[in-house]
Symmetry: C2
Subunit: 124 residues, 2 copies
DNA sequence: GGCATATTCAACCATGTGGTTGATGATAGA
DNA sequence: TCTATCATCAACCACATGGTTGAATATGCC
């Protein structure tokens, strides 16, 4: 890619990566744990994490043999400012985000997963 | 692609398409006029416009032999809510967006374009 | 040391993306 | 009607992306 804004938007354009970010919203995670709920290889998840790190959306720190992934929300700021400029939406509404995530998870639950488990790789 | 959010982010992940959206922010434009400042073929711009329309970010209306493109900012709303949830940024700051655009244009001007002309296909 | 675990690397494959050129279909205007 | 203009379509190309598998590299633990 090239410019930071393009890199960030491209990183966000994949549901697996967005789901990873949503997982990291709760807490830092090791790569293996990030990969666990997804039905793809660890190598694939590792690539996704590399894309997210390249975009600055996460950082990775090696402690022992485990690599911990941490959300870096600042990387979203420039992109968010860009979008806000177009939308002229009402003031920030974090509740709207939580409702959005809940709706997404609920509709995904109807499909392919036993209830009551942790979120998993849904279309977030 | 697949889900709307992915489609929107993918559409935004290209600087040409973001520049087009910035142009449409000022006024509706015909396809030929959209293409004019870019150094690529009309067909390429037509494809970009198709991507933007697919994402719902613009609409196209044919009047006579001219197709008018209009910005559809509502398509950004869902994506914006998503991002806000991660960023927990300070309240919406439209001034920040304008400064951002200005900075982008200024830094681009240093590069490849005679001064004083209309914005053109910069890295917006 | 030796083995198991954590993560990435490398090679490969199918598909998507961004661009080109040339042909094609509408429509406006002389 | 003839011609020029507006826009897309179709075929093609180079390259990026998202996935796989198998090997390689580190590190922790017995």
């Amino acid at each position: 890619m090239s410019d930071p804004l393009s890199t960030v938007f491209a990183a966000l354009a994949d549901p697996t990566r967005r789901a990873i970010l949503a997982m990291l919203l709760e807490d830092d995670m090791a790569v293996t744990d990030v990969a666990e709920p997804f039905e793809m290889s660890l190598a694939a998840i590792s690539k996704h994490l590399a894309v997210l790190a390249e975009a600055g959306l996460i950082s990775r720190e090696k402690r022992g043999r485990v690599i911990w992934c941490r959300l870096e929300p600042d990387a979203l700021k420039q992109a968010s400012v860009w979008m806000q400029g177009f939308g002229q939406f009402e003031p920030v509404d974090l509740d709207a985000f939580e409702r959005f995530l809940e709706d997404e998870l609920r509709s995904a639950d109807a499909g392919d997963s036993p209830p009551g488990l942790c979120p998993g790789p849904r279309d977030i």
